[in-house]
Structure formats: structure tokens, C-alpha cells
Symmetry: C2
Amino acid sequence: MSGSVSEARQWGRLMELAEIGAIVGDRPEDRGVNRPCLSAGDRQARRLMIGWARAIGCAVSVDAAANLFFRREGSDPSLAPVLTGSHMDSQPQGGRFDGIWGVVAGLEALCALHDAGVATRRAIELVAWTNEEGGRFRPGCTGSMSWSGHTKPAAFDGILDPDGVRYGDALAEQLAAEADIPRRALGGPGGVVPHAYVEAHIEQGPILEAEGLDIGVVSGIQGSRWFTVTLTGATAHAGTAPLRGRRDAVQDMVRAITALNALTADASDTLRFTVARIEVAPNTSNSVANRVRFTIDLRHPDAAVLREKGDAIEATIRDAVAHCGVAVEENFHAMPVVFDPLVTGAVAAAAAAEGLRHRALPSGAFHDAQFVVPICPTGMIFVPSRGGISHNPAEYSTPGQLAAGARVLVRSLASLAG
Amino acid sequence: MSGSVSEARQWGRLMELAEIGAIVGDRPEDRGVNRPCLSAGDRQARRLMIGWARAIGCAVSVDAAANLFFRREGSDPSLAPVLTGSHMDSQPQGGRFDGIWGVVAGLEALCALHDAGVATRRAIELVAWTNEEGGRFRPGCTGSMSWSGHTKPAAFDGILDPDGVRYGDALAEQLAAEADIPRRALGGPGGVVPHAYVEAHIEQGPILEAEGLDIGVVSGIQGSRWFTVTLTGATAHAGTAPLRGRRDAVQDMVRAITALNALTADASDTLRFTVARIEVAPNTSNSVANRVRFTIDLRHPDAAVLREKGDAIEATIRDAVAHCGVAVEENFHAMPVVFDPLVTGAVAAAAAAEGLRHRALPSGAFHDAQFVVPICPTGMIFVPSRGGISHNPAEYSTPGQLAAGARVLVRSLASLAG
């Protein structure tokens, strides 16, 4: 049935959806999307999807978190369904592919099965998770967290968007606008438990393109630890204060980052260590800085490495600085998740059967899939991102790359659904 | 006549002046001053000075730049006068001593001569220069630059303060408020040329205090070069982008500063190299920085060293960075000035005669004196600053330290005035 995947249909739908909230990037050819979750644009995009899914006989339903489901029935409706999907919301200056392609690819898979007249034992369900990006309401993944029982949905109600709109109110508005659509239960304990979940997504990194590959068989999602470091020194006149007596927070930041670079050096280039936000006070050119605050973003797929390196950060900085007081705060901690061989095996077999060049690789970014991991066997399929660029109107994958991804998805789903 | 210097009178006048625009610092004992130039507070402080100076028979005059002069006549009025003085304006969060002490010390010297009944051959003139700090109208030293012919006074008229007031309008308002005071000519070529100029000032640095000294015989004002460095890389996802392919502007900044530290290393701790302003874009913790802009403040009393090190900055950065584009802009360049042995000799002899511990040292900060250097033999007297702190309500020198400075000043003036 992968032969029934239509490159043109999938691309056409993606481009039609990309017109809703379309924005132009730095270069005229960079055409992106700004489509926040729970917005009029989101609802318009969902209505397009609903129309296309109903046209091939899918049942549509929505849960209390506004996660939108499309079900293609299996020959044994009593069996747990196989779930696929991703999200339809974008970053404020986002691309046309992040998230939405996984939903369109799921629909393309259902269409291919429909066109090929293939019946699966298990039903296949396609989901569009609410608010993965967190671009309007932080944090993201509120839809999948609500569905999986990770967090009670009401916990998100009070979150405000930049205009002061409550998440709970925006969600109620969305559900009211979709009151014609049957309501379904949330998932997780006491709710729907799928047989397996597989999410298709653009890589958002440069590895597949750099290695000339078609498909990433995602092995898991790396863990992350986020820190804020504050170095406190003393201001002084840049002209009068000898260097020897200074407590210069900029110079101690340089010492700290240099030592952290040594701590996190990794010949395999797997560990991700990033300092990307720096605030200096008083930040005037002729007064020695008395305070520097910088962030650390540390990621690794191996929990032991992440624990060891992250736990060594504070001592490394304290050893490195010469003059400043040091405060290190850990702001966020997410352990790595490892995907299930049931799904990664199905994806690898599908890629091989399609004759596509593939490799296993961890996801550097977060995805809804990480919240599905505790509920059922989970995996992901990556396709290449041009230049690794994402969260940017320059984000791009070719129609052919996306069609190859859809072929691997439909094979994986068919295999998992029996 | 140095025995006629009154520690109590000088301190009392300083504290009385410090009530005009008084502010409280971080600690209750840190009592500072916010008294912008050409303001009502400035005029109130000047009226106090005028009253005290007239009480000892001084003639008062003001020039077109609102520089305020007090003249104690000499026995030969045809000779060029000896000039002393400093400024009365403060930084917005300034201390009670920076500038104003040099004016009060000059008055104390005139009072001591008066009280001791000493006649000098040359007249001694005391000046309060307009707008040294540049705290309200940038740049500073507009009064001394106008007086010395460095810049035509009208060139400053269009400068706006933070409230949008023109310098020219504020100056006209000041002159109108002081229309009762006789007007005098500017200095420099075609104007008044003093026999010598000596300025008393707090050190604004930690050297005298650290070395247990009473007096700094200022050898000159070090030169300064200011640069802005822009490193341009590429943003990337902190989770997905391998470190090897990144063009991380923060990491290149660390490389650049490390290399600049090596370039500017100076065992004598004379060279001042400061990076104190950093701006990062997009400055979000999980997106690799695509641009870092940082400032360099480089100072040295030796023009050859300043030229050599400053000229090597761009190449040093280009050699050091690994991935980013480099742009280096020089924003300001002031060559060192060397004070005249006529004045430095008089100051050193006066300090020795007073039995005070003294040393020669360059000034790290700018002063009006640097604009007087081209006009006549010039020098400065420093007294210790507690902790080297200045431009801060915590700025402090003891009554005894300031009295010692006034004794050295009056001896120096008497010696120069014959």
C-alpha cells in the first residue's frame, strides 16, 4: 500500500494548510507559518483535516484537551488501535513542516490504505495534539500531557498567552466551536491505551542531510537539563581599577565557559552543551561588570551521562572562577526516553523494505511522543531538514523526502496494526 | 599658609553642597549626589560658592560656556594667573566628592591664603568647569573643551538630555540666571592663557589607599581606545544541532576574549583591558547565538603601547574565532597626555614639604585637565578614594585626606604663583 502514497496529494495539502497563518521570512523564498494553537487559524486548519479524513470514511472525535482524532476502523474493533499523529500548531515565526507534516503524513497513510483497499486488524487512529509548541501558551505539549495523565488538564487552565488570554478560556472556545464533533475520553490510565504510537516528524537537525540519508529511525528523545548561572563580582572604573584587584564577572564567565567546554568535550559529538543567553550588569562599556547571568542547556540521550555531567557543572564553575560569587540553579530536568523495539523495529523494517537509506538516531528536540512513552510502545520517524533549520520560515524538506517518510509511516502502521 | 587650611571648614562646605541633590545609596550610610549640570541644583550650588568666594574678596566672572571663575588678585595683575579648579556636576548616581572637592579645595586654598595674609605675585583663579561628567549632556567636558578652543561652543548646542532639552537652551537659561555676574572671555588661543593649571581630584581608583599613601602626583592621563566587536554566526536548535557544525557566537566570543587576555597581559598591571558590555542575539537559552556584540575599553599611559595593542585587536580576534564573521569598529581614540614638570614638580615638592606620603601615578579616568594641557603647563593632585569606588553614593574620602590634599594644593599654587 505504500505505492498508494501520493507525493503530490501530501504536498498539496501541506501547502494548503501553510496558507493559514502564512508569513514571509528573511528571504522571499522563505515562506513560514504563524498559527498558534486554539486560534481561529488552528480551527480553520482542523476543519480542512476533518473534511479530508471524513472523505475516506474516518470517524472524527475530540477529547477534553481538544486533541483531535481520526479513526480508520480495523477488522477487529475490540483490539487496541495503533496511534499516529503529531501537532498542527506552529512557532510564532515557524515553518511549514514542524508538526503539521506528521499529521498530514498520518492522513496520507490512511488515504493510501483506503486507496489500496487494505484492511488492518487493528484500527488506526490519527491524532493532532493540542499546543505542542508552547508558542502561545507555555509550556508546550499540554495536549499530550493531558491525554496521557501526566498532568491533570485543569492544571493548565490558568496559563496566560501574551495577550492575557487564559488557556482554559481558549480551550473552552475551541471545544465550543467543535461541539458538532463527538467527544471521546482522554488516554492513559483509565482511558484509551493504544497498541503502539508512531509519530512522523522532520528531523529539525542536520544529521540525515549531512549523511545523505532518507529516514531516521528515532531511538528515543535525549534528556535535557537547564541551568542558570549567576556570577557576582564588583563593579569598578574601567580606567582606574587595576586588573589584579578586579572582581570582573565577564572574565569569570569566560573562565567558567572554558572549563565547562572541557567538562562537556565529547569526541562522538553526542553531548549538546549550549550557552545562548547572557545578561550582564551594569552592561556599560567603561564599568567592570559586577554580575553576569548565563544559561546552560545540556542534553544527552544517556541518562547516566546527563546525570554525571550535569551534576558536575556547579563544582566545575566554582573551580574555574577566580573572583566572583557563584550561584547555579537548575531550572528544568527531563530524563531521556528510549523508544520501544516494537515500534523502532517496525520503522527500520519499513525503511528497509522501501529501499531507503536510514539510521537510528536520538531526537534532540522534545516531541509529544515523549509523553506517550509511559502509555504504550512508542517510536518516531524522521525525514531530513534542509540545513537542519527549524522554528524558522526557512525550514524545508522536499516533497520527495516527505513522500518517502509517508511510505515508511504507512508500512509501519500496517505492520503494527496487523 | 598650608597651616591655615581648615579641615572642618572644607568638610562642612562639601557636606553643605552635598545636600543639593542628595540621594541615598544601597546602604543607608552611602549618601550620594544627583546634581546635573545647568540645572536648578547646579545654580544653587554655584550661588553658595559665589557667596563664600566674595566673602574673601574674590572677583567672580562667568564665560560663554558657563564656566564659573573666582579670582584672587596677585601683586602683579599683568602676569598670567595660575588656574585651579574642577567641576561641580555629578553623575546621576554620583558621590559627594568627584569633581566638587577640587572646586571646594581650590576655595579652601584661597581662604588659607586670605587667612594667612599671603600675597602672591600672580593672581590665582579658581574655575568650576561646566558639564564634566556628561551625565546629562553627552559628551562630558563641554565646558573645558569650549574654554580651551578644542571645540567651538556652538557645536554642543544641539545635544539633547534624556528629557529632550537642548544643551544650548539649558546653557542660555544658566547664563540668564547668572546675568548679574560679569562675563569674561574663553581661554585658549586668543583668550586667557594661564601660567599653569593644577586640578585637585579624588583618585577614583584603589592605588593610593592600597599603598597607604596620602597624595598622588598625577603624571598624566592615560590614553583610551574603545572598540565594538560584532561576531556573526548562525542560530541553531540547542538540542538537535551537533556542536561540530555550529557557528556559535558565544563560543567565538569566549575564544576572542581569551586571546585578547593573552594579547593584553601585563605583569606591571598598567594596561587596562575591559570587556563590560555584551549583547547576545537571539538570547534565548535553547537557540545557539547567531550574534554577539561586545565592547573593549583599552587604556595605557604610553601612546606606543596603546597604539601597538589596540592595532593588534582585530587580527587577534580574527585568529581566535573558529566560525563567526568578525567586525571590529573603533568608537573612540584619545591619546595619553603627559603633565608638565613645572606642575608635577610643584605638587611633588608641596607633598614632600607637608611630610605626606606620595607617589607619581597616571590618571585612569578623564578629567577637564586633559583639555587644558595644550593651553598651559598642567598637573593634578589625587587624594585616596575608599575602595577605589567612584560614580557611586559609596564614594568616600576622609576629612583628613581631603585636608591634606588642600594643603598640597595651596602650597603648589603659592609656589606656581610666586
